[in-house]
């Protein structure tokens, strides 16, 4: 930097600078005050002076048409059939593309045959019938197996010059390719061996040079993509154990995956065998049929139809029984073989077996599960009670009473007096009032069995329970008070004529013997002057229909009441 007469103030990043146009300042001053210092370009020193770069930089500064840096051009290729090479058509998805497949996953067979292979293959296929010919795809698959096996079994083949014998290869071929290729593979093996030896026992396909830790690796410009040094973490016993555990787990998981694959494989093999058997049976039957027609033998053709094999598990029988009792009547008592007719007539049974018989119905399954669940819940509650037996909470003003958790404290139906028969109390205290517990649904079915008058809203059956809350307050929870809510329109009506005069009682017409009314009356615990909607304790929005469960807490002192 040339020495200055004036000492400049330091220019920092944060210095606020005035922005001027060149024409807003005297040109002489502008010229004289310009800094002519070397600017950091970020280009390497020896390249910075390159002729074309300097020309281009000078031209951008000078405002002339910017000079371009010459570079070898790219051309449209004329002598290739682009459309044939790139034949796939692309459809732009509506959303942003998100994929994670790798190159190897979308390029199919990893060996691409070259012209040398092509020559060999054409010679091999010469004079062979179309069925005997080896296709290019199969050829590549075979070589791929060879190359893969080489890489896996003898990773240092290029150094120690080992060549895997065909016996090992054939085992791999059997494993990975259809068996018909095995014979051809032997021929291909010869060709592969030749090529392998010609390439110094390296991979046939030209590949990149990776480091092999020879001394001259570093200087070889062809060696690329070296591994990075791993930052050494401190070796501790805990880390060792961790690694061992990880390895064990990995090993176990891999083993499991392997078994799964093996099992799947054997299953598919069996399936195949089964299908083959079925086919032979079909063929045989066909022959029999033909023979019969020829010989004029008349008789029932039941042998030609697959007969239902008796289910071994009785459970399935029962399910079928439950589902179609009348069908079972026709099938079961008779010997199986003599009832082909009925079976044939049933729709959707091509092989004569009732479809439903071997199917486990979903509903059955669900019911079964529900039962199990129910049983478990009951068991748990019993157990819980056993644990808590004799438990006395000695603290002052216990938060929750220790007793009162048994089923006996659950909701009891309030309908008992009005209906002939009492429904047994539900066995479980439902914790959440929002959802009917399975137990309640059970009680419905009981109600049905006792043939009590049908209820329009079985779940709305009024029920109550008593419990002792905090500080010994007595609470009565009710639910199923749906009839009250039904009067919603009436209530809004009432508001219309509501006056300050609270004495006046509205009169509603109703049949005093109506069950609903009866039921309702039974539920009136308090005089109606505490008005409902506001005073309600739970602010939950109430559906107009029958609410499966609604509860209200009634404190002994204040009496929030139900609507009249």
């Amino acid at each position: 930097m040339p020495p200055r007469h004036v000492r400049q103030r330091k220019l920092t990043k944060a210095t606020l600078q005035q922005v001027l146009r060149e024409d807003q300042i005297e040109s002489a001053e502008y010229d004289s005050n310009q800094n002519h210092q070397h600017v950091e370009t970020g280009v390497e020193r020896h390249e910075e002076n390159e002729y074309h770069l300097q020309a281009a930089l000078a031209s951008t500064g000078g405002g002339k048409d910017s000079e371009e840096i010459p570079a070898p051009p790219a051309e449209k290729t004329v002598d290739i059939d682009y459309d044939a090479l790139y034949s796939l058509r692309f459809k732009k998805p509506a959303t942003y593309i998100r994929v994670s497949y790798t190159v190897e996953e979308v390029t199919g067979c990893q060996y691409d045959m070259d012209s040398e292979d092509d020559t060999w293959l054409q010679a091999y296929n010469q004079g062979k019938s179309a069925s005997q010919k080896l296709s290019e795809d199969d050829f590549e698959k075979i070589i791929e197996v060879f190359e893969d096996t080489t890489e896996n079994h003898t990773p240092f083949a290029a150094v120690d010059n080992t060549l895997i014998p065909f016996e090992t290869m054939s085992a791999q071929i059997k494993l990975r390719l259809p068996s018909k290729l095995l014979d051809i593979a032997e021929h291909v093996y010869g060709h592969w061996k030749d090529r392998k030896q010609a390439s110094g026992n390296k991979s046939i396909q030209p590949g990149l040079k990776f480091e092999i830790n020879k001394d001259d690796d570093d200087a070889d410009p062809y060696v690329c993509f070296r591994r990075r040094e791993v930052r050494q973490t401190r070796k501790t016993r805990a880390r060792d154990v961790q690694s061992v555990d990880k390895l064990k787990k990995l090993r176990k998981e891999l083993e499991e995956a392997r078994q799964l694959v093996a099992l799947t494989h054997s299953r598919e093999v069996q399936k195949q065998a089964m299908m083959l058997n079925e086919k032979t049976i079909f063929d045989q039957r066909y022959k029999v049929k033909v023979a019969k027609t020829k010989l004029g033998i008349k008789g029932d053709d039941e042998d030609f139809i697959n007969q239902k094999v008796r289910c071994s598990t009785t459970r399935i029988e029962i399910i079928a029984d439950l589902k179609q009792p009348q069908k079972r009547k026709s099938e079961f008592p008779q010997p199986q073989r003599t009832a082909p007719g009925t079976q044939l007539r049933l729709p959707g049974r091509s092989d004569g077996r009732p479809l439903e018989a071997d199917l486990i119905q979903l509903s059955e399954r669900i019911a079964e599960k529900e039962n199990m669940l129910q049983k478990e819940i009951e068991e748990k509650t019993q157990q819980h009670r056993r644990w808590n037996q004799g438990h006395v909470d000695l603290t002052r003003d216990p938060l929750s009473p220790a007793n009162g958790h048994g089923p006996e404290t659950g909701f009891r139906p309030a309908t008992a007096q009005y209906q002939y028969l009492m429904t047994p109390p539900s066995s479980v205290t439902s914790e959440s009032f929002d959802h009917p517990s399975p137990a309640q649904e059970k009680s419905e079915s009981f109600a049905f069995r006792y043939s009590s008058p049908p209820e329009e809203e079985p779940r709305g059956q009024p029920a109550y329970r008593r419990r002792i809350g905090r500080g010994g307050r007595l609470w009565i929870d009710r639910r199923g008070m749906s009839s009250a809510i039904k009067n919603d329109e009436n209530m809004s009506d009432r508001w219309k004529y509501d006056q300050d005069d609270e004495e006046e009682q509205p009169v509603y017409e109703m049949d005093p013997h109506d069950t609903n009314a009866l039921r309702f009356r039974a539920t009136i615990p308090f005089p109606p002057h505490f008005y409902p909607q506001h005073g309600r304790q739970d602010n939950r929005p109430r559906a107009p229909g029958p609410n499966p469960a609604n509860s209200r807490a009634i404190a002994p002192v204040q009496n929030p009441a139900a609507p009249p």
Partner: protein, 509 residues
């Protein structure tokens, strides 16, 4: 000599007084500096390689002050044998250099072709002034070195070398790197005696075969001559470590979508038959009606990213393929048509950059250059930095084309903002400018300096907008009214800065 005629056109050759003399086709050897015809005039050029063709011997020449991408094979007819040729003096590089050091005023980069083959970018960085290089310079230059390990080794080797050699040449070799150092040691072992006579040299050349050459020199020579890529034929600019056997092929085929490479047409055709890739294998993070951007993790898409690096290495001299692709994310720009998403350009970005770089390598493929795609790439890199809430800068060194592209982008954006400040008669700091553009303050400052916009006037620093830049800006605006400039719409970017767990950050396998 060094201070004389050649001081205007330095760059090739050592500053040492060299043996000069007439040469013939047969005696001209690797490392010689000869006058060669290029674009209608003779230029000084270094012979880097020699090959025999059917039409005669050809010489691979690197021209003085021309970028390597303009290196070419030259038939003997273009070499001026009337003029004297400078012979390389490999055997006493140290002594020669020492003697030359004070004389060589403006000469850059003494390329002691045999001793110091400048195989890597680090190797060729020398002080431009010819004076003792400052350590800060060398540090800076070495920052670009991919691994710190290597540097340590170099330092160590240099120590050894220094002991072995003359003790008083202190700083000359401070910036030498691996290969150069190794070669130097080797050279010493192999040829300890002082300069051979010319006859001996020629004899050695004959016997040893002129075609064998220093291995590190290989990377100075373009190895692939022609590439068939998608619907285009590309002529590579630089060496790229594709399989060595491809060097013999006239044409290399690269699949446009998976970027796999083939030397054989049949193999390539077979590959195309099977390849189902139609767009880069990653997540699309930006799409407009013109281009799409894909984000690709080097660790997950190792093959694809390696292929991309090999491809781009052909057009980026400073790209390092020394290490694997794991620690990089690749942002790939494509155009769409009915065949798929075609690779146009990309930039790579370190998952964690210690220096705050937001771009490691950036390239527009030659067939798409000079069409404004580079600007889109650069803009996108800054948009990502904005989302990250960071200030970004491209990794150094920049190439010549890289510098021009970045300068242009920076200039346009700065001018636009500064005009706005000028209208509002508001003051601004470089920091504020940097924050607006997600650029580093250093880049802002260097751009302002390069455009000669900073002056010190009446005791205050001021920014002055030169008229020619204002005019050009207005012209551009005018042009954009009829033909809108393509820009990245930040609202269309669907991207969150990726985060990596500690396990993912350990790059080792």
């Amino acid at each position: 000599m060094a201070g004389g005629a050649q001081s205007q056109e330095p760059a090739v050759g050592s500053p040492a007084p060299k043996q000069k003399g007439k040469a013939t086709i047969d005696t001209l050897k690797i490392g010689c500096l000869a006058m060669v015809m290029k674009d209608g005039r003779t230029r000084r050029a270094e012979v880097l390689s020699i090959k025999e063709t059917k039409s005669g011997r050809q010489f691979y020449c690197n021209f003085d002050n021309f970028n390597k991408r303009l290196d070419e094979w030259v038939p003997a007819a273009r070499i001026d044998f009337e003029q004297e040729v400078e012979w390389p003096n490999p055997e006493l590089p140290k002594e020669a250099k020492k003697a030359a050091a004070p004389v060589a005023k403006k000469t850059t980069v003494p390329k002691k072709s045999q001793k110091r083959p400048a195989a890597t970018r680090e190797a060729s960085i020398m002080s431009a002034e010819g004076e003792t290089p400052k350590w800060s310079d060398s540090m800076e230059s070495q920052k670009a070195t991919p691994d710190a390990e290597g540097e340590d080794k170099v330092a160590l080797k240099l120590e050894l070398e220094r002991d072995a050699a003359t003790p008083n040449e202190e700083d000359d070799d401070a910036m030498d790197v691996d290969e150069a150092a190794i070669k130097a040691i080797k050279a010493k072992k192999e040829a300890p005696d002082p300069p051979q006579s010319r006859a001996e040299e020629i004899e050695k050349l004959r016997v040893g075969g002129s075609m064998t050459q220093n291995q590190a020199d290989i990377s100075r020579i373009r190895n692939i001559s022609k590439v068939q890529f998608g619907n285009y034929t590309l002529y590579p600019w630089y060496f790229s470590p594709y399989p060595e056997s491809f060097t013999q092929e006239d044409l290399m085929y690269i699949c446009e979508f998976c970027l796999c490479y083939y030397g054989d047409l049949k193999a390539f055709t077979r590959h195309r038959h099977k390849c189902a890739m139609q767009h880069p294998p990653g997540n699309e993070i930006y799409r407009d009606d013109y281009v799409s951007f894909f984000e690709i993790d080097g660790r997950r898409q190792r093959t694809w990213c390696r292929n991309l690096c090999l491809l781009s290495r052909m057009f980026l001299d400073h790209k390092s393929t020394y290490h694997d692709v794991d620690p990089f994310l690749f942002y790939v720009m494509t155009t769409r048509d009915e065949k798929g998403c075609h690779l146009v350009g990309y930039f790579s970005k370190e998952k964690e950059s210690a220096d705050g770089f937001n771009v490691a390598c950036i390239l527009t493929l030659p067939q798409f250059q000079r069409k404004g795609y580079g600007r889109l790439l650069i803009q996108f890199s800054y948009e990502l930095s904005k989302i990250e809430g960071k200030l970004g800068s491209p990794e150094k060194p920049l190439s010549d084309l890289g510098l021009l592209s970045y300068r242009q982008y920076w200039t346009e954006n700065l001018i636009e903002i500064l005009l706005d400040f000028n209208e509002r008669e508001d003051k601004v700091s470089t920091e504020a400018l940097a924050a607006l553009l997600a650029m580093t303050p250093g880049d802002v400052e260097s751009t302002l300096q390069a455009l000669q916009m900073q002056i010190y006037h009446k005791g205050e620093h001021k920014i002055v907008l030169p008229m020619h830049l204002i005019k050009r800006h207005e012209m551009l605006k005018e042009k954009q009214k009829t033909k809108p400039k393509r820009v990245i719409d930040p609202a269309r970017i669907q991207w969150k800065p990726p985060t990596f767990t500690a396990a993912q950050r350990t790059w080792g396998w």
